[in-house]
Symmetry: D2
Subunit: 157 residues, 4 copies
Amino acid sequence: MARRKNKTYFKTEADAPAPITVSVKSRVRFSDVDPMGVAWHGRYPLYFEEGFAALGRLCGLSYTDFFHAKLMAPIVELHIDYFESLYLDEEFTIQASLVWHEGARINIEYRLIKANGALACSGYTVELLVERNGEPCMASPPLLNECRRRWKNGEFH
Amino acid sequence: MARRKNKTYFKTEADAPAPITVSVKSRVRFSDVDPMGVAWHGRYPLYFEEGFAALGRLCGLSYTDFFHAKLMAPIVELHIDYFESLYLDEEFTIQASLVWHEGARINIEYRLIKANGALACSGYTVELLVERNGEPCMASPPLLNECRRRWKNGEFH
Amino acid sequence: MARRKNKTYFKTEADAPAPITVSVKSRVRFSDVDPMGVAWHGRYPLYFEEGFAALGRLCGLSYTDFFHAKLMAPIVELHIDYFESLYLDEEFTIQASLVWHEGARINIEYRLIKANGALACSGYTVELLVERNGEPCMASPPLLNECRRRWKNGEFH
Amino acid sequence: MARRKNKTYFKTEADAPAPITVSVKSRVRFSDVDPMGVAWHGRYPLYFEEGFAALGRLCGLSYTDFFHAKLMAPIVELHIDYFESLYLDEEFTIQASLVWHEGARINIEYRLIKANGALACSGYTVELLVERNGEPCMASPPLLNECRRRWKNGEFH
C-alpha cells in the first residue's frame, strides 16, 4: 500500500479558485486516548468537526446559516488516512480546506499537523445539499452561490 | 470519606411501591478505556443511559412517549460514586431503578455490577418535567400519573 | 457522484477464501443523535467498533490476543459511505467482514443495516501490524497466520 | 427541590488557602447537542475535563506529573447540577477550582458560565491518590505536598 502523504482528495479545474483554509489549535484530551496513550482513531471525526465548524463560520456555511436557509447538508462520505499518532496532551493544528465545486455539494479536505510539524492525518468529507423535506437540491442553492461569489471576490483569503 | 456501597440515594415513604428495576448487559469497549486500561469515568453517563432507555421503554417514559406528550424531562442532577474499575472487554450489568415520587420529577438510581458480582459504581439522576415551551410542569402530568397507576397495579414487576 | 451501494472495497484473488462476517444488533442511543434526530456521522466509528470487536473475538484477533502476541494493529485508513439515516431508538444490524489478505495487514468491510432492511452505510478499515516498539511487521506474524489457517479450515463459518 | 446556585460543595477550614481557579473558553459543538439543540447532559464530564486538565498543568498535577510520580488519581465521585442549557455553537467559560484539602485526595469544583453570564451548571469531582500497584496512598504524597507548599506561597494566584 503506497501511503502518499501529499495527496489531494478532490480534483478541481485548473482555473478554479484556490481552496479556503482555516487553522484551529487543539489538544489531545485524556478522554481521547486509548490504552496505547494515543488518540483513538474514532475520535478524529471530532477533530475534523472543529475545523469544519470554523470554516463554516468564516464562509457563511455554519449550522445556523443552513438552518435559516431551510437546508441540511448531511455528510455522505468520510475518509481518514492516519500517518502518525497524536499523543496525550499534544497540541496540534487542524486545517480544514473548502475545495471549489460548482454543484449542490460541499467538499472539504482536512489535515492534522503535529506539534513537531509532521502530518498526523489527512482526510475529507463530502456533503450533499438537501431541502428540509429530505429532497436533494437539484441545483446549487443561493447559500452556496453567495459563498462562491464572495470566494471569487477574495473575501475569505 | 466513608464510601458506603449500599447507599440508597432517594428517600421514599414507607408505603411507597417498590422501585422498578431493569437490567441490561453491556461490555466495556476499546473506545471507552483510558491509558490505564479501564473505562474512563466520563463514559459512565453513557452506561447509565442504556439502563435509563430500557427503563423508559418498560414504563411508558421513553423519548417517544415524552415527545408525543409534548413534554421534556431534562436531567437537572447527576451523581456517580465509583467503587471498582471496569476493564477493557469486561461484560457488566447495568441496573436502573425508577424510585417512587409523586411530583413532576423522575428519580432514577443506577448500579453497575461487574462480571464477578462486585459493585463497580452507583449513582442517580433527577429529571424535572417541563412543557415544550420550557415552563416547568406545576403538577405531575398525565404521562407520569398513568405510569404510577400501572406501577401500583404491579404491571411492571 | 455515483453512489453504488453494493460496492466491495477490497479486491481479492478469485481463489481466496470467502470473507468471515459477524452480525451484531445495536440501537441508536439518545446521545448518538443530532438536532435532526439522526445518528451523527462521527458516531459511526463506534458502531464499526462493535462489529470489529465481535469479529476479533471470533477469529482470535481480539485486543487481548494482540497484547499477548506483543503486537499492535493501528488503523491506518477509515472510510464511510452514508446512504440512509439511522433514527433515535432504531434497532439496526452491524455486519463486519474480515476480507482475505496475505500480508501483515487486516482489511475489514462494514455494513449497517436498518430495521427495514435498507443499507444505512458501508465502509472499511485497514490495519497494519506493528511490533510493540512501533516497527511495522515485515512479514505476516504467527497470530495472523494461525487465523488464516483456521479460516481455510472453515472453522469460522 | 431547592436548587441553590451558589453552593460550595466542599467545606474548608477558615484559615485554609483560597481555592485556585482556572478559566478556559470553550464552545458547544454540533456533536455535543441533542435533538433539543442543547448540550447533552452526559457531555459535561468532557467540559469538566478541559478545566481539570488546565488546572493540573498550572499546579503540577497533570497526567504527566502523576505518571512520573508513579501515582494514579482515579475519580471516585462526580456530581453535576444543571441549571441552564448550553446551546449549539454557544461560547461558554469553564471554571475549575482546586479546593484545599490536606489528605491524599484532590477536591475540585466546576462552574460552567454561559455567554450571557448565567450559571449553566456547577459540580465537583473527588480523586483519591493511589500507588501504581492500586494501593491507596496512606499519606499525602510528595507531589501533593509540593503543590500545597507552592499554593501557600501564592505561586498559583
